[in-house]
Symmetry: C2
Subunit: 252 residues, 2 copies
Amino acid sequence: MPALRAQPLSPLPEVRPGEDLAALIAASAEEAGSLRDGTVVAIAHKVVSKAEGALVALAGVSPSPRAVELAAEAGKDPRAVQVILEETAELLRAERGVLICRTRHGFVCANAGVDASNAPDDDTLVLLPRDPDGSARSLRARLRELTGARVGVLISDSFGRAWRHGQLDVALGLAGLAPLEDWRGREDSRGLVLSATWLAVADAAAAAADLARGKDSRQPVVLLEGLERFVTEEDGPGAAALLRAREEDLFL
Amino acid sequence: MPALRAQPLSPLPEVRPGEDLAALIAASAEEAGSLRDGTVVAIAHKVVSKAEGALVALAGVSPSPRAVELAAEAGKDPRAVQVILEETAELLRAERGVLICRTRHGFVCANAGVDASNAPDDDTLVLLPRDPDGSARSLRARLRELTGARVGVLISDSFGRAWRHGQLDVALGLAGLAPLEDWRGREDSRGLVLSATWLAVADAAAAAADLARGKDSRQPVVLLEGLERFVTEEDGPGAAALLRAREEDLFL
């Protein structure tokens, strides 16, 4: 088995709406030795959201009575809560200043992924990309156009989880990277069936990339080498394939 | 930021109870270029359990009426269910052939981590180590004795999770590796407070190691380089620090 390697690219300049993010990444990767077929380009979602203009100016937001009420309980800006509610399909918990939401996309996370940190200015909130799998496909196509390389693209964010402290990056959007590797029903090294082995490849790759990244270092892009076996010609099912329907979820 | 690198060691021979696992690892690492201060030695728990004799022979197990009843519903061997129940502090769900358990250690996982795959023979089940943090501390001390290197030791298993399909390796036992990196309250690159950034370092490292490992390849040991900043002189709080108390858990 070849080694897995996660190499952050140099910090990107501040990304503005309409920016050709793939071109910034290709230029930065060029310095680092260029992209190859089978490289996985792991991108913190925030630069994708910024390039796509998935931003909200607080000054223009009118909070609903519900947002005002939740904000008072949570000690938050009612306008920020309004933005969070607009991104939310189902509010699962509102407690101790944290809103746990199922987003429009189906992700379960704090504050529907809406975040003020590393926003362009103090009045702006950054949303999750509208269609993260679509974003990944577009970036992949543009990277191929610019570099010729058939890479995998992985867009991630840091989410908390049940049962355990701390956050892990998980895949929000994917193109050309298998979300899962299914060993269920295959045999182990002794010929016994491996009954419950179903590796969340893309989430593991997101976690590995985040571990290589400095949180305050403006290093949103990490190149992963050694995952060539999971990189596909087709864009594939995307990160949506990682979402488990509530009624199937034995962990809840 | 230096690159993160995850390199599996060559397959180990079948590990038997009483085996000096640290000596097997040190010998295998020697071929791969030896251990250094700051290397994280990531180990799939199964070889630790085998070396410690955390094994149960099904032939000697008498299932309780409760185990017989659950086994009938789940389509499992009643003796295997008995073993699972003995490892379980709280049975959270029993559905569709899966038992979701909180183990004696506090881990929430399927079948209390009891597994037949890669067991020494068809009659044997492999348990989680009795005290995984203790196992990690012992392995670390012995590796230091054998090699002189101050490594971090990480013992992991693949667990399913809420909300998302697939499994990720998580830390069961740790010595000399920080379980979490707390950025809560620190400032981002613009001076704004990062309100909710609390990286689960050890779980991310476990996921990265598993991604480098072939599931059927008898490669339980992976060396992680590039995590020197998380490797500590002291053994530290262990993986127990990753467990979230149910009453604090907003994701449930």
